[in-house]
């Protein structure tokens, strides 16, 4: 009987014992462009706003803590370094009426290709544009041709074709707004969006 009572007590103790909850930490970091946004941490009734760089909320502390950049890097460096590359965007410019890059953009192309090569499996969208010289239909074709040309450069550095989507926007999306029939070098461009 006594053995049973002891067993019952042990069972009761096991059932009611609370497991120790893991410590939870939330930290706001400055972003790559230096700007710091905010997070709101809700724990039951409590709501904490973290809106300063390295402000931290811990389940074991009542108040907001302020960590150092070095402490964050020590504790979470491995995780942080595994973030994928930020999406990026590049512009290349063309000689009027053609799908040939300007001399300047031909040099720029090497930098762009190097940046793309550094990404393990890039997802690319190439959008071609023209200025307002010539008729709209011809410009649709020219913009698509420019995008196609750039796609060729990307395939040339080993990016699989199925990961590159292209579009030609003709003269619909001028970078620099102009009247019709205006020769504007900055509108003769291809946009490369990568992520």
């Amino acid at each position: 009987m006594a053995v049973l009572a002891v067993a019952a007590l042990i069972a009761l103790a096991l059932l009611t014992a609370k497991p120790v909850a893991p410590v939870e930490t939330f930290v706001v970091l400055p972003s790559a462009d230096g700007h710091t946004g905010a997070v709101v941490v809700e724990r039951g009734e409590k709501r904490q706003l973290l809106n300063e760089p390295y402000a931290a909320s811990r389940s074991t502390d009542g108040d907001i803590q302020h960590l150092s950049a070095a402490a964050v890097d020590r504790a979470y460096g491995r995780t942080l370094h595994s973030l994928p590359s930020r999406p990026a965007s590049f512009l290349l410019y063309f000689i009027t009426g053609t799908d040939e890059l300007t001399d300047e953009s031909r040099q720029e192309l090497d930098k762009v290709l190097a940046a793309l090569r550094a990404r393990p499996l890039p997802d690319v969208l190439v959008i071609g544009h023209t200025d307002t010289m010539g008729d709209a239909l011809a410009n649709d074709q020219l913009s698509a041709q420019r995008a196609e040309r750039v796609k060729g450069f990307l395939i040339g550095i080993g990016i699989p074709g199925e990961r590159i989507r292209i579009a030609g926007r003709g003269e619909r999306e001028l970078l620099v707004p102009t009247a019709d029939e205006v020769d504007e070098p900055r509108n003769r461009r291809v946009e490369i969006n990568v992520r």
């Binding site: 909850a21 410590v23 939870e24 946004g37 941490v41 595994s82």
Partner: protein, 145 residues
């Protein structure tokens, strides 16, 4: 640059590929994906969806880029799940609920949050974090010193 229209076209075509939430961009060490009771090996380029769970070992880390340009990385010894992911590439309206049951998670918010602050949420065993456009880290359990 007319980034918004370009972005619109980009994500429109991305959405046409599949109703995927995102794509695995980086895998190091031991890590796997659990989907519908199945255990799948992780590889770069693999799409991730709602209800997927990523589990990492002591040397494992995984990086994911989402359709709205949110970025996440899952650190070693972690258990992370995508509970809900909805993103409209035209309006940028969306909801992103994820759960970190243990381990560590780093993130950069994307277009969903830009459109509706706090529509990206990370759930942990005892709290919910709403993201208002920022980079962040979450840790459940002791961090590696």
């Amino acid at each position: 640059m007319r980034a918004s229209l370009a972005a619109f076209l980009f994500w429109l075509s991305a959405a046409a590929l599949a109703a995927d939430a995102g794509e695995i961009k980086l895998v190091h060490g031991r890590a796997h994906l659990e989907r519908g009771g199945e255990r799948l090996a992780l590889r770069v380029g693999m799409p991730v969806r709602e209800a997927d769970r990523v589990v990492t070992g002591a040397d494992g880390t995984v990086g994911i880029t989402f359709a709205d340009n949110s970025l996440l990385s899952i650190g070693p010894n972690s258990d992370f799940a995508i509970e809900r992911y909805v993103f409209d590439s035209t309006t940028h309206v969306g909801e992103f609920d994820s759960r970190l049951s243990k381990g560590s998670l780093a993130g950069v918010s994307g277009k969903i949050v830009k459109q509706s602050p706090e529509a990206m949420r990370v759930h942990t065993p005892s709290a919910i974090m709403g993201v208002r456009g920022t980079d962040f880290v979450v840790q459940v359990g002791d961090a590696k010193r």
